[in-house]
């Protein structure tokens, strides 16, 4: 459910729209921010706040890959394996990454709950392959070593925190 502060934030956003339902994406973004994923309660809360049906909000959540219904790691590592990237070896890059993290070849979440790794379609950076998007930030022209270094850095960050 949305917290009091989140409700207030949402109300501010609602002022910008003539029609409440138009605010569904920012509302879901707020609801998802704290935990990286949305519970059914979060979704119901958004539907009620915007006066639209739960089914409509669920369908929107299902449509956008950045909105999630399952718990994820702290960092979501998305690797594009779509055709142009695949032609430049992104599939192997992805498979090796999963292997080094001890994950099955299709990806998943590491045991420490830190990384969720998944293959996605075009991230619109086909000229900088291999690439990964980690919690909305792009890391381009990667090699195995570079991505390992980046993940190590994140691991250290979260240990420090």
């Amino acid at each position: 459910m949305l917290s009091e502060a989140e409700h207030q934030e949402l109300n501010e956003i609602l002022k910008k729209y003539p029609d409440k339902r138009s605010a569904v994406l920012p509302a879901l973004y707020i609801a998802q921010r704290a935990r990286n994923y949305l519970t059914d309660d979060d979704i119901r809360g958004v539907a009620e706040a915007l006066d639209i049906s739960v089914t409509e909000v669920q369908a929107i959540v299902g449509f956008y890959t950045l909105l999630r219904k399952d718990p994820t790691g702290k960092y979501i590592v998305q690797v594009c394996t779509d055709l142009p990237c695949a032609l430049r070896g992104a599939e192997e890059f992805y498979r090796r990454l999963c292997q080094r993290l001890g994950l099955p070849p299709q990806g998943g979440t590491t045991d420490d709950g830190l990384f969720t790794v998944e293959a996605v379609v075009c991230l619109a950076a086909c000229d900088k392959v291999p690439l990964a998007q980690i919690n909305l930030k792009y890391y381009e022209n990667l090699s195995d070593d570079r991505i390992d270094a980046i993940l190590d850095g994140l691991r250290r960050d979260s240990e420090d925190a």
């Binding site: 639209i52 049906s53 739960v54 089914t55 409509e56 669920q58 369908a59 299902g62 449509f63």
Partner: protein, 889 residues
């Protein structure tokens, strides 16, 4: 404005804005579609309708088409094929649908749709009437080039609630079902979740697929993905016998197709009638038919002997009735006999029923109004009912609706769809009620009055309309009497004063009244929750001359919203033939055709209260929860089931159900429509009208009616309103051109004839008739103070005898409860589901509480006609509102 274009060499002239697919239909060319449906907004999702389109090259300087060497316009072709379902026609457009390219496109699209289609046609319910099957046969490839083992699999039996099952492998994601739910039903409870290969239809409502209209999605689904649990795997489409019938569950009079197999109803589907139900029916109509083949049907006459009901022959039973009636008449006179007929009986039966009492017995003791759901006394529509030719499916911007005291989504679902649809197409919608209803979501003005003050609100609106001079200038000066008196009378009812009584802010009253008065056409629908608190007899449903009805009549008369199509009043009466019962004089004070009776008889309440010694009851259950009056010596009941009334009868005569016989009903908009017989009669049951005829003959009348049509012929002679109606006329299929112009490809059962009824004209349509603006003082507003106001709304899935037999609707039937606002629940300290005790009238009833955001503070709602009749026993004798005490416990 029309536009002329060429389609495959044929010239079509169609209104501007017409879609290519519709224009093609007009010249007999069928463009295949999946996602397109004429009732839904086009989306262009499936690409099945691709055609080649070109437009004439126009010289920008002259605005003229450029011509080639032969003097023909030069056509600029769109570089890619276009979707005929989303593109509107334009002048000089050229469309090609019969080329090799188009054929190749169709084939390719079908091949795509079939890549992972399960092709289980041999066991699919849609098989035989499936657009995907038909179009593949016609345009598709014969074999698939895709690898069988790589097919995508998904859920085959996914329950979308209790009524509908989804086969996700068959779904082609055309979004017809989701669009129907969002656009037409206004219940956006279906959606497409995820995308690409994972896209699927879902519902997250509680209960799942929560809508009164869900069954319609099975009709419009162009494949066998959505099936009703009721029909799934029960029969193949080609084994069915399809009978044109009517729904008997409410006054809308939806046209249906009864599909029968081996003497049973296999399914009920809508039968297209653009002026009544278009192509829809509600779930009550679709699934509520199981009573027909119920094992509890009465099949033999029963006579009470030594306190026990025992089987008897028809001869014995009828003889027994005739001789008892004769001896009671001899001893006590004709007025010691009375009759109550249900408003679910067909016209012919009702006509003979009242004729039997009036002419054979010699009494006016006849009525059809029992319980709270009884129709209210209604002759308003006789005078100012909507003009003949009214079609709510076609009205838009220039029409204003005022819906007062009615929850259409519950009381008359398909009327709800049509009014909501009109609002969607720009009509002004004003809703007024004691609580918000689903229609309020669509309304432009939503007025919330305190229960019991509906009349005051209307007087306030009339005040504003007169003040702003929004009276109908064409009709009012010549045809209307009493304008000055009315002006004087409403002078006292300025919005400020009305606001104090009703609780509706004055500005809202003004805005709504102006919006109504300024429209070109105006329609008022009034329902059961506006009535009550009448003069003298407070809160009774059948008070004569209700001030509310008078105010409604005055409102439409002085605005000139009368006597024309799409103008006038619709009374939202409760039963399938409530309109017919009023028309045909099944009331003690009026003969058929709204002719006053010289010597009014007793009404139902008086008869039940001991006013008669013998009572004939046909198709009604007036003794539910009521004990037999001591004065009553002899009770005869014609029924389908052993109802509470039948259990107390001396003679029970088993009647045939609607599906087993023919006859006519008159719907809320006064369409008289015919239904045909489709099932064999169980046991020895007989149609009610034949039972009445035989009794009349035994009592010495020379009644020779041989058919229902013969009875209607007499009605057409005897009752001016029904003049010109004939069984033959009512059986005529609609003309081919009319049928073509409404033709909807796919998902419609065209196996049974499309017919249109005949509508009798309201008095106001006679241009020479003078109309009176009578005045009735509004009732005193209900006293505030201790306790709560109890109201008894009508709900769709109530606890009536017929509906209770439909197991499939079991979980949807409304269980007895008491609904109240969350503020009141908190004040009383109850949680949802805990017990509440309501007392009134010396009665006390405990029911579980239901906290309902829609119930206003200070009001408790117990739906009427539930199991055990809690609302009825608290309200008593036909009252609609009452003050009650509510405590925890």
């Amino acid at each position: 404005m029309t536009v002329t274009l060429t389609i495959d060499g044929r010239q079509a002239t169609v209104p501007k804005g017409t879609l290519i697919v519709e224009a093609a239909k007009q010249v007999g060319i069928e463009i295949p579609v999946f996602c397109y449906h004429p009732k839904l907004e086009p989306v262009g999702m499936c690409r099945m309708c691709l055609v080649t389109v070109g437009t004439p090259l126009v010289n920008r300087a002259t605005g003229q088409s450029q011509l080639d060497a032969d003097g023909l316009p030069i056509i600029r072709w769109f570089p890619k094929p276009q979707t005929a379902c989303t593109m509107s026609v334009s002048e000089g457009m050229v469309v090609i649908t019969d080329s090799q390219e188009v054929a190749a496109d169709r084939k390719a699209i079908l091949e795509f749709l079939l890549t992972s289609h399960p092709l289980d046609c041999p066991v699919c319910d849609k098989g035989g009437e499936c657009p995907l099957q038909d179009l593949t046969y016609r345009h598709g490839p014969g074999v698939s080039r895709f690898d069988y083992d790589s097919k995508h699999h998904s859920a085959k039996r996914y329950p979308l609630g209790d009524l509908i099952v989804l086969d996700r492998e068959r779904c082609i994601l055309c979004a017809r079902c989701t669009r129907f739910q969002s656009e037409i039903a206004q219940d956006p409870v279906l959606a497409i979740e995820n995308r690409g290969r994972d896209a699927r239809i879902v519902s997250y409502s509680n209960p799942v697929f929560d809508s009164h209209y869900s069954g319609n999605t099975t009709d419009i689904c162009p494949v066998g993905a959505l099936t009703s649990r009721d029909f799934r795997f029960h029969a193949r489409a080609w084994e069915l016998t399809n009978i044109p019938s009517l729904c008997n569950h409410c006054g809308v009079g939806c046209n249906t197709v009864l599909s029968t197999r081996r003497g049973q109803i296999a399914r009920i589907m809508p039968r297209q009638n653009e002026t009544v139900n278009e192509v829809w029916i509600c779930d009550k109509g679709r699934f509520g038919h199981h009573f027909n083949s119920s094992p509890y049907r009465l099949t033999m006459p029963l006579i009470r002997r030594d306190g026990e009901l025992v089987e008897a022959s028809w001869d014995d039973a009828l003889q027994h009735v005739a001789s008892r009636l004769t001896s009671i008449i001899e001893a006590h006179g004709s007025d010691s006999i009375g009759g109550i007929a249900g408003a679910c009986l067909p016209n012919e039966d009702l006509y003979l029923f009242q004729k039997f009492l009036r002419e054979v017995i010699g009494t006016h003791n006849v009525d059809h109004r029992v319980g709270l759901s009884a129709t209210f006394e209604d002759d308003t529509v006789y005078a100012v009912g909507v003009g003949t030719g009214t079609d709510l499916g076609r009205v838009g911007r220039d029409t204003a609706f005022l819906v007062i005291g009615s929850d259409l989504d519950q009381e008359a679902p398909i009327l709800y769809l049509r009014v909501a649809g009109a609002a969607r197409h720009g009509a002004t919608l004003i809703t007024a009620g004691g609580r918000p209803t689903k229609l309020d979501k669509q309304s432009n003005h939503s007025l919330r009055y305190r229960y019991g003050t509906a009349t005051h609100l209307l007087l306030g609106m009339i005040h504003v309309i007169l003040e702003a001079n929004l009276t109908g200038n064409e009709t009012v000066p010549h045809r209307v009497n009493g304008l000055n008196e009315l002006r004087a009378n409403v002078a006292d009812w300025a919005p400020e004063r009305v606001a104090e009584i009703t609780g509706v802010p004055p500005d809202e009253i003004r805005a709504a009244a102006r919006a109504f008065g300024e429209a070109k056409n105006g329609i008022v629908l009034y329902g059961p929750e506006g009535l009550g608190w009448g003069n003298g007899t407070q809160g009774t449903s059948w008070e004569a001359g209700s001030p509310l009805r008078q105010a409604v009549a005055n409102l439409v008369t002085l605005t000139g919203f009368i006597g024309r199509p799409n103008n006038g009043v619709i009374a939202v009466l409760p039963h399938a033939n409530s309109r017919g019962a009023a028309d045909l004089g099944v009331v003690p004070d009026r003969l058929p055709g709204y002719v006053p009776a010289e010597r009014p008889g007793l009404n139902a309440q008086e008869m039940l209260g001991g006013g008669v010694r013998a009572l004939l009851v046909a198709g009604a259950d007036p003794l539910a929860g009521v004990t037999l009056a001591d004065e009553l010596e002899f009770l005869v009941v014609q029924e389908l089931f052993l109802t509470q009334t039948a259990q107390q009868a001396d003679v029970i005569l088993p009647a045939a159900a609607l599906a087993e016989r023919d006859g006519t009903f008159t719907n809320l908009e006064r369409w008289v429509q015919r239904f045909d017989p489709g099932l064999p009669v169980p046991g020895q049951a007989r149609p009610d009208w034949t039972i009445i005829r035989q009794l009349a003959v035994l009592l010495g009348a020379d009644w020779a009616y041989a058919t229902v049509g013969g009875v209607l012929a007499e009605m057409a002679q005897a009752i001016p309103l029904y003049r010109g109606m004939s069984y033959e006329q009512l059986s005529q299929p609609v003309s081919l051109s009319r049928r073509m112009s409404h033709y909807i490809y796919a998902g419609m059962s065209f196996q049974a004839e499309m017919r249109e009824g005949m509508q009798w004209p309201a008095l106001a349509e006679d241009g020479s008739a003078k109309l009176e603006l009578d005045w009735l003082d509004p009732p005193a507003p209900p006293a505030e103070g201790d306790g709560f106001t109890l109201v008894a709304p009508r709900v769709l899935y109530d606890g009536g005898t017929l509906l209770g037999q439909a197991e499939i609707l079991g979980t949807r039937l409304v269980q007895p409860h008491i609904a109240l606002s969350s503020a009141d629940a908190a004040a009383l300290g109850v949680l949802d589901g805990q017990g509440l005790q309501v007392s009134a009238n010396g009665q006390s009833i405990s029911l579980p509480a239901r906290v309902d955001g829609l119930v206003p503070q200070g009001v408790v709602a117990i739906p009427r006609n539930l199991k055990g009749a809690p609302a009825e026993s608290l309200l008593g004798e036909g009252r609609i509102f009452s003050r009650v005490k509510v405590v925890k416990g």
